[in-house]
Symmetry: C2
Subunit: 588 residues, 2 copies
Amino acid sequence: MRTHFCGLIDASLIGQTVTLCGWADVARDLGGLCFIDLRDHEGIVQVVAEPEQGVDGNAEVIAMAADVGYEDCLRITGEVRRRESPNAKIPTGQVEVVARRIEVLNKAEPLPFHAHENPGEDIRLKYRYLDLRTPDMQRKMRTRTKLVQALRRWLDARGFQDIETPILTKATPEGARDFLVPARMHEGEFYALPQSPQLFKQILMMAGFDRYYQIARCFRDEALRADRQLEFTQLDMEFAWVEERDVQDATETMIRDVFSEVIGVDLGAFPRMTWAEAMRRYGSDKPDLRIDLELVDVDDAVKGSEFKVFTDWAGVEGGRVCALRIPGGASLSRKQIDEYAAHAAKFGAKGLAYIKLSETGEVSSPIAKFFSDGAFAALLAQVSAVNGDIVFFGAGARGTVSDFMGALRLKAGKDFGLVQAGWKPLWVTDFPMFEWDEEAQRHVALHHPFTAPAVDSIDDLRANARTAVSRGYDMVLNGNEIGGGSIRIHRSAMQSAVFELLGIGAEEAEAKFGFLLDALKYGAPPHGGIAFGIDRIAALMAGTESIRDVIAFPKTTGAQCLMTGAPSPIPDAQLAEVHVAVRAQPER
Amino acid sequence: MRTHFCGLIDASLIGQTVTLCGWADVARDLGGLCFIDLRDHEGIVQVVAEPEQGVDGNAEVIAMAADVGYEDCLRITGEVRRRESPNAKIPTGQVEVVARRIEVLNKAEPLPFHAHENPGEDIRLKYRYLDLRTPDMQRKMRTRTKLVQALRRWLDARGFQDIETPILTKATPEGARDFLVPARMHEGEFYALPQSPQLFKQILMMAGFDRYYQIARCFRDEALRADRQLEFTQLDMEFAWVEERDVQDATETMIRDVFSEVIGVDLGAFPRMTWAEAMRRYGSDKPDLRIDLELVDVDDAVKGSEFKVFTDWAGVEGGRVCALRIPGGASLSRKQIDEYAAHAAKFGAKGLAYIKLSETGEVSSPIAKFFSDGAFAALLAQVSAVNGDIVFFGAGARGTVSDFMGALRLKAGKDFGLVQAGWKPLWVTDFPMFEWDEEAQRHVALHHPFTAPAVDSIDDLRANARTAVSRGYDMVLNGNEIGGGSIRIHRSAMQSAVFELLGIGAEEAEAKFGFLLDALKYGAPPHGGIAFGIDRIAALMAGTESIRDVIAFPKTTGAQCLMTGAPSPIPDAQLAEVHVAVRAQPER
């Protein structure tokens, strides 16, 4: 239907006749002389309809052009010529197309909103086709396609097998987040949508596929936070006959190559950090290294003080007292300091001690009085505080303190413009094998129950479960966990032992994971893998905060598709066919 | 963990030390001299453990080798040497590896079955990891990966955007086959899994993506026939600003290129045939052109007979009388002819008339008596029957006759070895727009309700709905519909008219497809596309009848996954969270 793309018309085509298809971006009728900006996915070119000697039907062309409205679908044939007043803002700005024929392929009704407006996200999602038609959204979505293509190309060239795993599968034990699907042929039974292809990819290694990947849709039915989706996409990978560094080295190279190819960024070699170090220095297992602020443990410096909150926790097993120095932070008003305290409280802080050193050296601090002059000076020295700084302090249970001080570090980084431009990747390794759940009085898996411990002996693991380190690892980029993986357990006895430590009894394990325990018995090779969050990586590459900008048809935080109206009620007769009923509402 | 792959050890490595990982395919202990066939995904190499002078610990290596069992996971280091008695059957047969170190990475328990056995499909599916580990299944699955990679490479090189569409979406009007997913956040409402991304890909064209593809998972909840799956994979494509030939020419080239690349087959240029011609000559809208048999209409030749079944239908509107000549078919016994009749009956035949001409020219036919000698000879002449043939006749309603005569043609092709080797692609075009449903007394869409009619005028379409031709097309290969598509309706008024003709009222259309009707109003470009069945194409390429051989974890015809045990019962409390209950069983 066309000979060229609008956005690619250039001076090399001057004098040629071209046929273009596209949308009317703008149409201007200057009285007998009409301009149309014709747009396709490659860009915009100016079309002009003008009186011309010796051209039949030109009056008709001008009349048609005069009648063109926003977003009409047009096919235009005309001659390319040099533009009298070039437009340097667009790549086609040197030329224009003199219309000889205009066909209206589809007339557009008045639009609910225009591209240059921002009508709010709900309207954008309802009329998603208009939103996606804008050059900005086109660019973001096309960045995602490029990412996925580059990843596939990289993996295909290295012998990875792209294998699809089921979407209709078995409910998992942490089934609370499973989407359920009633089975027509099996009354009262349900399929579940996979939270990840974890067990299938492990089985594929046992099945001899050696290297596997899949751009896999995963599903998690939970209350949506601002930046989560019910369904999300991960690059799922698994390797047989490997150790940690094999997986890490290969995927670090992959991510580096792909960033270079898609957005021309060299991520360099990725630094490595243990989980313990990351928590200690940054209060996070996914530290944003673009922010040049660190937590400093001050247990020793505060031990001698009379501030009970500090002395209760300083040097205590399971406790932590640490400081965060913010250069220039003395500019914070009392009200702003309160905001920091409120922010810390959201992450579990019971209060927020601070020392403010004005530019002229005056101290403002609710805790100064608990310190001797010498101890106070020593404390300031330890955290390298200088005039103009503020120093925040956290004290309490180790995990909680790390969490809220890490959160303050991020907030301060943003508030004080301390987030450097650029890209800061990182491997975080040596995660704890288990977290101890005080409430349930049992271990829970920090990664998932198939992660191998760093020890080979079951007895060792049992004896040191609380401090055991796993063979898990995360890839972090600018404070985002973009990938997470581990070496897996490949022996049946170890897998059973880990289930047991997690409080999954033999019977339950057999019912839920019998096929895995079986498969481990029949020659399961050592294996490990990783999964990358495609939505997040695409958003980072496209330079947008929201993953909804790189998903064609996202759902709202209310779990709805505003365009199609999903979810929706279903006639009872149709529910009967799959043997379920909507549950009667309890009285309220 | 390894330096080389087992299957790639060759004479160029003689004298070198290699480390291999793999499974013990066979181990033979010849008393102080042990052979292990070590297998990885690349193939098998022979490892030998033998007494050797001056090598420390070799006794230990021999002892370990003697202890190796089937499918043990091993890591072996040793030296490559030329084999004394080469094995021409395997690519590594010129060499062997003399073991210096054997590590048992994972000991295998006695297997439930061995690779050379066929324990039946249920056992294979239950222990799918063992089944997939066999070289034959590895080859089939890897063919599928190659197909998908080749398709993507082709499409990526031509600017197609790989875009993901939702899996959790809105129930469709023909919702009887929808899988339903209860929505946690919306009591009493449900998502549905997509039967195809049809509307989303059309919307993507309206959203300016120009060229789209997706290797998309689709879902259809229906009783499984032998070769269907609840979830299946299609290559989904859509093009903006196109007509039929644009889509057909591009995708024909794609399929031809991919067959050439993956299995080295040149499909040549695809012949084209209208739906009417395909039904007339082959009794099928997906004719297998490898079978050199055709139906011949004999209305004129039988009109003068006294056989009422023929005369009732010959030359009648909506009726058909046709013949199928089977060369050599005179060898069929009475019992075999009855089997043909029974086969035809499955497709709606009420009886099956025939004429058998023995090798010596004797006629055996229940209908000969209804013909004059001359008319009988003329009939035989029209169908070119010669001695040794059998000719079957079908008479009745046009559609039914075509169906059962088409089915007989396929059966005869197989029974008489008339299916030529090789590949016979075909485009079938000019499908009817609607089928008339006698029972419901209304039109139903032959493709789907978004297919454009071949006429532009709504009045024309309304006036000639029963005979209207659509802009749909199918790609057929060896009797399989491997792809189907159409030019879509791109104007709102035409879409509404087609809904109306299909008995979908304005209110219903608005409720179900309001967003599509809206989108068509705001500048929808002409567009069209196609979808290809990846499972079927992969099976054809891999040379297997069953698509289950090219799906890693297929479900049975009973809709179950025998490995994981899906579907399964779910605790009532968990169902309560998503606001559904298992329906009480009606009394039986």
